[in-house]
């Protein structure tokens, strides 16, 4: 049998031991920087967030331990929780709307692009172009376009005789959120489109040809072959959309402001968290305690649901051998 632990050290063993030590040192050299950076700037703050959420805070100074007091304040204090509930349901609306409009459109576009029509490359580039731009640019650009008086959108509506429709889109509680969701869909639709397209291209051509020989219609092929086999891509997009929707911040911040105007109709968990943590008109002074508690709650929610969703969606995936 192998002598893993040799009691007598010969010069040969020493040479081997030295080489093993050098190898360990080399591995440590490779791994240490990345692990140190990640620990310091991701894991440590994440852990601290939990730690901080059970303390009273006065500005930057940590006060007394108050257990779940901050959580109670976030969840049950009527001054806070009406904001929480409102923001939460707005996030839910965003998620559902993006699933339907953004990802639904992306699926159709991907199915069409998979046929490699004329202009295939051009379409890919066109659809993906907004994806590479900063949300800030997109947000401001559309804010200018949606300006009630001279914005391009309303001018266009008036020019084609739909003057009645030319409402202040971002100024009405009924339309503001919808407008922002459409802007987000415009910004991002290229991303799921190309992820779906890549997934469709990965399906073996023979499978689709075999189905066609069996006499399946294009619709049946899409439903019975392509859709089930692109499941992994769907899983990823659903989870990413979920995480993105519940972390939604930039577009509402830029187009609606920190208070989710008009009248909190575009308020989001992300904005609420920012206001709670760093202070604002409605939330009063900066409060790191309740802010941390809110962050922990959002994290738990996102983590739980994305894990469950991944499990569920993955179970529907088929192995392509």
């Amino acid at each position: 049998m192998a002598q893993l632990t040799k009691s007598i050290k010969t010069p040969f063993d020493n040479a081997v031991v030295r080489r093993r030590q050098m190898r360990k040192l080399w591995l440590a050299f490779l791994l240490f920087p990345a692990m140190a950076i990640l620990l310091t700037f991701v894991f440590l703050p994440m852990a601290s967030a939990i730690w901080y959420s059970v303390y009273e805070w006065d500005g930057l100074v940590r006060g007394e331990f108050i257990g779940l007091g901050n959580f109670q304040e976030v969840l049950f204090d009527p001054r806070n929780n009406k904001f929480l509930i409102n923001a939460f349901f707005n996030n839910v609306k965003v998620f559902i709307a993006l699933m339907v409009f953004q990802n639904g459109l992306a699926l159709i576009l991907a199915l069409f692009l998979a046929r490699e029509p004329k202009g295939y490359r051009f379409y890919q580039i066109a659809f993906f172009l907004p994806v590479i731009l900063s949300t800030v640019i997109i947000g401001f650009q559309w804010k200018l376009f949606l300006n009630p008086i001279f914005g391009l959108v309303n001018t266009l509506l008036r020019n084609v005789g739909l003057g009645d429709w030319a409402v202040p889109w971002l100024g009405l509680p009924e339309t503001a959120l919808g407008a922002m969701i459409l802007v987000n869909a415009w910004h991002w639709v290229g991303f799921p489109t190309l992820v779906f397209l890549a997934a469709i291209h990965r399906i073996p051509k023979d499978l689709i040809e075999a189905a066609r020989l069996d006499g399946a219609s294009e619709w049946m092929i899409a439903r019975d072959i392509i859709w089930p086999l692109m499941a992994p891509a769907v899983t990823i997009i659903v989870v990413l959309t979920f995480i993105g929707s519940f972390n939604w911040f930039e577009i509402p911040y830029i187009m609606g402001g920190l208070e989710g105007s008009p009248s909190y109709s575009t308020d989001m968990l992300g904005l609420l968290f920012y206001r709670t943590a760093f202070g604002s008109v409605s939330a009063g002074n900066s409060d790191f305690g309740t802010g941390s508690a809110l962050a922990v709650l959002i994290f738990i929610f996102i983590f739980t649901f994305s894990t469950i969703a991944t499990r569920y969606l993955t179970s529907r995936e088929v192995e392509l051998s």
Binding site: M1, A2, Q3, L4, P11, F12, A15, V16, R19
Partner: protein
Amino acid sequence: MATIELRDVTKDFGGVQVIHGANLSVQDNEFVVFVGPSGCGKSTLLRLLSGLEELSSGEIYIDGERIDHLPPARRGLAMVFQSYALYPHMNVLQNMSYALKVAKKSKQEIEEKVHAAAEILQLTELLDRKPKALSGGQRQRVAIGRAIVRDPSVFLFDEPLSNLDAKLRVQMRLELTNLHKQLQSTMIYVTHDQVEAMTMADKIVVMRAGNIEQVGPPLELFNKPANKFVAGFIGSPAMNFFHGQVVGVNNATYEVKLENGAQFTFTAQNSNLAEGDEVDLGVRPEDLQPGTGGHGTMAGTATAVERLGAQTYVYLRSPIEESMIIHHAGDLDVQSGEQIDVSFDLKSCHLFGPDEQRIEFEG
């Protein structure tokens, strides 16, 4: 120009032992071929020798000096891999000079050595090509060239020709044999190919499941296989085996009855066979004669016949569902489905005892 010695070499991967104490001596300037079924540990043994894997226990000596603690490059070995492993981003010249560059050899020395090696391998024209722009045979030559420039005392080859087509393989085989003569260095060569093993080797090492089964010159292994495994492994088509039992013992004379009915006697001086022991009679396809006679006759139905004119292969199935192959020099007019008799002469047969070891006997 080196002798190699392995002493009780073992290797385990995560608790699973794959080499169980290998002992082997290789003489200076010898061409040694490792053969054995897939997964038996040939590559592992080569990698232990090269230093790419660490020994679990045991010792390795080159020219009498222990080297198993040294890193690969300081053992004076060079290795040629099955997939050539050429650096894709370097041209042929850079590939061949890399080892010398690492060893901080002078520009002039590098130049000389690389050009000398390129000369031997007819690579001079190709020095500034990238591996992608080379044919399989050319890549193989570069891989060998990369080994040559280092002036190693031992060359290790792990199935170097198996990615080449049949014709190129024959050509490279001859080139390698010439190279061995020219360089006068020790070579260890792993292959699956019987012909390569038989034609190139000074010495063949047959391995099975992490053990060295037999070591010897090709014809010795062919004529005197040490056990049933080696007998079945060396030679193509493989040896026919007939199972039987010792039914009579009289001093050094034994009587054996095969399951297919054939019966014969032989004498063996140093055998401790007893009545009832199970034995196997091994007969090479070329030693089975059509017709009756010899020391025993068996019957079988031809299931397939390959008549090549100069030689004929007949695949037979005996009444007790044994299959056997006859290799007949010359044409033999047998039809598939026909029933024929075959006979054997004990002189050309091999006998293996209950432990599957060879029994020396006289017919």
